[in-house]
Structures are given as C-alpha cells and as structure tokens.
C-alpha cells in the first residue's frame, strides 16, 4: 500500500518538477509581456532533442547540456525579437496565434533536421535504483528534483537580491512606471524570453532519460506547464512551482489509482475545477477593472 503510494508520489514529483520549470517559463514571459507563450513546450522538446544530438556527436555531457540550453535560449530571444516585439499591444488571440505559429516552425524544423524518431538519453549517474520503504527511486529523479530546487533558489535570489531581477519584477508590476525610473523594459523582455526558454530546455533535458523524447512531446508538456502556471495563479512564481508539483502528483496518482488511459486528461479536469471555484487560481489575488 505505502510502497505503491510512494512509487506514484516519486514519479509524480519527478514529472511535476518538469511542469514546474515550464510553468516558471510561462510566468516569466507573462509577467514581462502579458503574453502566454504557446511555444514554451517546444523549448522543452528542443532541450531534450539537442542533448541527445550533441551527446551522440561525442561531445562531453556537460558541454552537450550547456549547448542544449543555450540554443533554445537563443531561439527564444529570436521569437521575441522577430515575432512578439513587432506586435506590441495586439489582441490576446493574435498573440496566441503568433506563438503557436512559432511552435509549429520550431517543431517543423526539428522534424526536418532530426526526423520523427523517438530518442533516449543515458541517465546522468547510472541506472541503479534506490530503494525507499519498498518503492524504487531512479537516480535521475534525484537529478531532476535537485536541479529544479537549485533553479528555484537561484531564481528567488535573482528576483529578490539583484538589481536586474528587481528591475524585471518592477516591469511586471507597472511597465510605464518602470520605464520612468529608467528601467530598460526592452532588455527585460529579452531576458524573460531567454530565461524562459532556458528553463524549459533544462526541464526537457533532465526528464529525457526517464520519459524519452521525440519531435512531438512539446505540445502536451507545454500545455500541462500552462495548466500548472494557471493552477498557481498566472504570474505568481511560487504558485507556478507548487502548481507544477501538484499537477505532476495528481496526474501520477490518477494514472495509478483511477485510469492510466485518462492520465493526460487529469491536469485539464483539475484546472477546470480550480477555475470554476477559484477563477484566478490558487494563489491569484483579487483584481479590479479600471473603466
């Protein structure tokens, strides 16, 4: 009983950490530009695919992983410069279509370059499972959780203790006021897309040894990351992390105890329920409209 529960819990928080990183990516971009970046999932896919590609080329693992984070970050910046900046202030639907267009371009190019096959990445530190109270934990899960925790701490430090981080926060609260006190909001936008793509790619790399990757894994991972960001209340960083873990755990529990066929539906059922009763997510504040 307990062993089974722990088993589901382990797999839940492992996947949940990936959702959390994706959700943080959604949050960063949303705060900087009010855009929901539907291409976020493609950065997750790109991270995993590039890591596979570079390790197969024979590059040492750390170099391969750095490149697999750097390249998606550059792609993210390109998307911002070429597609988001020219349409400042466009309607939500227009922005949604632009980011979906970007995701199609990224996915299409990946298929052209790497094909439609499924790839795997060797685990970073062996495959010997660790036994805890009858449940097994893969060493790779520890990598996923450890790195995610480090990233969360680093982000907290960045946003609360550094000038650049505070500038980004200020922009998300009030762009005009931030510009008036001399913050370069163009730079903030640039940074958010770079960081958000890098976070997504990192999540994609870490999870690939466990779940495998292919050109089309980005759609579902991205949409679930979006669910996680909304669960926590859009724009709330802590909410995104909690949302990601919650979505991952509930999905794993649902798949284990209820129905594995409906695993992918669970995050969406969850979000409908949350929105029905808490229209601004778990941690979203109240808002008023200015007429």
């Amino acid at each position: 009983m307990l062993a089974q529960f722990l088993q589901f819990l382990f797999s839940g928080i492992t996947v949940g950490a990936t959702y959390a990183l994706a959700a943080l990516g959604f949050t960063l971009i949303y705060n900087a530009s009010n855009v929901i970046n539907f291409a976020q999932g493609e950065f997750i896919m790109l991270g995993g695919m590039l890591a596979v590609f570079f390790t197969q080329m024979g590059l040492p693992l750390p170099v391969a992983l750095m490149l697999a984070i750097l390249i998606p970050a550059i792609v993210g910046v390109l998307v911002e410069k070429l597609a988001i900046e020219p349409v400042k202030g466009a309607e939500t639907v227009t922005l949604i279509i632009i980011t979906i267009g970007a995701s199609l371009v990224i996915r299409g190019l990946t298929t052209v370059i790497f094909g439609k096959g499924t790839h795997s990445l060797p685990a970073f530190s062996g495959e010997a499972p660790i036994e805890i109270l009858g449940a097994t934990l893969m060493p790779q899960s520890l990598w996923v959780l450890g790195v995610t925790a480090l990233v969360v701490v680093a982000l907290w430090y960045f946003f609360n203790r550094t000038l650049q981080g505070k500038a980004m926060l200020a922009t998300s609260f009030n762009r005009l006021a931030a510009e008036l006190v001399g913050i370069n909001t163009g730079w903030v936008l640039f940074m958010s897309f770079a960081m958000s793509a890098a976070l997504g790619a990192l999540g994609g790399i870490l999870i690939t040894p466990i779940t495998l990757t292919s050109y089309d894994v980005g759609i579902m991972l991205g949409l679930k990351g979006f669910v996680a960001a909304v669960v926590g209340g859009l724009g709330n960083g802590l909410g995104a992390v909690v949302g990601g873990l919650l979505v991952g755990i509930l999905e794993a529990m649902g798949a284990g105890y209820i129905s594995s066929a409906y695993k992918d539906a669970i995050p969406f059922v969850l979000i409908l329920f949350i929105l029905f009763f808490m229209p601004r997510g778990l941690f979203g504040g109240k808002s008023t409209d200015r007429v």
């Binding site: 309607e91 939500t92 949604i96 995701s103 199609l104 052209v112 969406f268 979000i271 409908l272 029905f276």
Partner: protein, 310 residues
C-alpha cells in the same frame, strides 16, 4: 441596417451558384465543399471571438461531439442520422451551457485555458472509449438519408452545403444588427460600461457560446456524413487552433472575413503539399507573418486600406 448590407450576400450566393459549373474536376469540388463547411463553423466562432470578444481554444471538441454522435448513434443504436445529428447538437448545447456559466466569469487567458482544457478532455475521451468510437483509428460513418434517398454524390452535398452557408451568412448579418448583436459588440467594447447600461453580460456571453458550440456540432455531423469517416484528430487541439486562425486571419468581427479565412486556410495545406517535409515550418511561418503584418486580419485591413466599411 445599412442599405448595401446584403450586397455581399448576393455576391456569395452568385458565386455559389456558378461554381459547380466552372470547377474542373471532383478534386476541386471536394475542396470547395470543405471550404464551405469550414466557413459555416468559422461564422459561428467569429460571433464568439470577433463580436463578443471571447476566446475558445476548444471548439474542435464540439465538432467532435457532433461528428461522433452521427457516427456512433446510427452505427451502434440504429438511430436515423438526422435524429443523431439533433442529439449531438443537444448534448453539445447542454454541455456548453453547463460549463459556460462558470467559464464566463473568467477572462482572457483563464478563459483560453478553460476552453482548451474542455476540448482536450473531449478529445481524450473520444480516443479512449474505443468500444464505441474505434479509438485512435476512428470509425466509418453511415450515409445521410434525406427524405428517402441517400446523400452520396459530391453534387448533392455541394447544394446542401451551399444552402447552409448562404443561410448562415444571412443569419449572421441579421444577428449582428439585432439588439442581441449590439449587446455583444457593446460587451466586447467594455464589459463594465455595457453592464452599467443594463446589458446582462454573462447571459449574453453564455448565449453566444452555446450558439457557436451548437453551430460547430451540427457542422461536425455534416462533415462526418460527407467524409464518411471520423477520427479523434478531427477534435484535437490543433484543429481548434486552425479554426481560431481562420477567424483571425480572415478578420475578427467580419462576416465576409470569416469566409475568406475559411477559404484560405482550407486551401493552404493543399498548396503546401509541394513543400515535402517542410509543410509544418511553412504553415507556422505563414501564421506568424500574417499576424505580424495584418494583426486585424485580411478583410478589415483591406477594407481600411480602400476606405470602405465591411
């Protein structure tokens, strides 16, 4: 209503009457039928997105309910296709009404999330209930019988669909100029302001959402009978996005924009078939470029350029 409001409708009808005599072969006939079907769906969706200013990223789910009602009920239970189509529309309407009230307390991105979630849940259910739906492989749909004879040839389907399209354009034009349409446009402009002048905002949003969902369900049934086959891809997230793109590329809040958007985006995959392997890249690039350079959509952009109202 403006005097020349029906002028466009007459042109649409004229084109629809002439088309079957000038189309070179059945390939084009099929393409035009699918364009017309999509145009009817997009008209309904544009009322929701363009006029009322609400987003739905799950409309293909409603298409799916209609299509599968027309496939499952006649096949497994021997229902008459028309009855099945009505049942699909009724279920869709009920479902849309049930979720609409809580959903329309939401705004912007939260609304996008909720409709997207609903569409994906419907799609996953269609994929998983294989004993009824054939699962991921889909299932065949029996022919539509009307008044004793089967609708089967492309010619027959063409006239049915052309009639549906003409009626939909006429109905949309009238609806927009009715008090209902004015209320919708008011709440798109400013919800608070329309509330202040006495518009029951939530009731109107629910009504238009249910209406466009029922539109979609009926056209889902029509598509299923016309194609003779349904698969879960018909109800997936990407199809929802395609429909929204048709609305936006043609022009939000533009009746004729809906037609243009449906025609262009239905033809696009055919045109892209020559880019072997690169279709997705080119399709994505076209979406991005058209939104960057014409964020208001084709018809309103051109109309503004030539100084004429839509």
């Amino acid at each position: 209503m403006k005097k020349n409001a029906y002028f466009g409708l007459y042109i649409v009808i004229a084109i629809l009457i002439v088309l079957p005599f000038v189309l070179p072969n059945s390939f084009y006939m099929d393409l035009v039928i699918r364009m017309a079907i999509n145009a009817v769906i997009v008209l309904g969706l544009n009322l929701l997105i363009g006029f009322a200013g609400q987003i739905s990223l799950g409309h293909a789910g409603f298409l799916g309910i209609g299509a599968y009602a027309s496939a499952v009920l006649p096949t497994h239970f021997g229902w008459h296709p028309l009855l099945a189509m009505g049942a699909g529309a009724a279920v869709t309407g009920a479902l849309a009404a049930l979720v609409a009230r809580p959903i329309f307390k939401l705004k912007g991105h939260y609304l996008a999330m909720a409709t997207l979630g609903l569409g994906i849940i419907i799609n996953i259910a269609l994929r998983n209930e294989a004993q009824w739906t054939g699962g991921p492989d889909g299932m065949a749909v029996p022919a539509m019988g009307l008044f004793g004879f089967d609708l089967s040839s492309d010619k027959q389907w063409y006239w049915v669909v052309a009639l549906l399209l003409s009626v939909s354009v006429w109905a949309s034009l009238n609806l927009i100029d009715s008090p209902f349409g004015r209320a919708l446009r008011a709440l798109h402009g400013s919800e608070v302001a329309s509330q202040v002048v006495g518009v029951d905002v939530v009731r109107y949003k629910v009504a238009i959402f249910v209406m466009s969902a029922v539109f979609a369900s009926i056209m889902g049934s029509v598509t299923a009978h016309y194609v003779g086959f349904v698969s879960p891809n018909f109800a997936d997230f990407f199809h929802s996005i395609e429909l929204v793109t048709m609305v936006v590329i043609g022009g939000m809040a533009s009746v004729y924009g809906s037609l243009v958007g449906a025609v262009l985006l239905t033809a696009l995959p055919q045109a892209l078939a020559t880019f072997e392997g690169w279709e997705t890249v080119v399709f994505g690039a076209i979406l991005m470029l058209s939104m960057i350079f014409m964020p208001k959509g084709l018809v309103p952009t051109l109309a503004a350029k030539f100084g004429k109202g839509d």
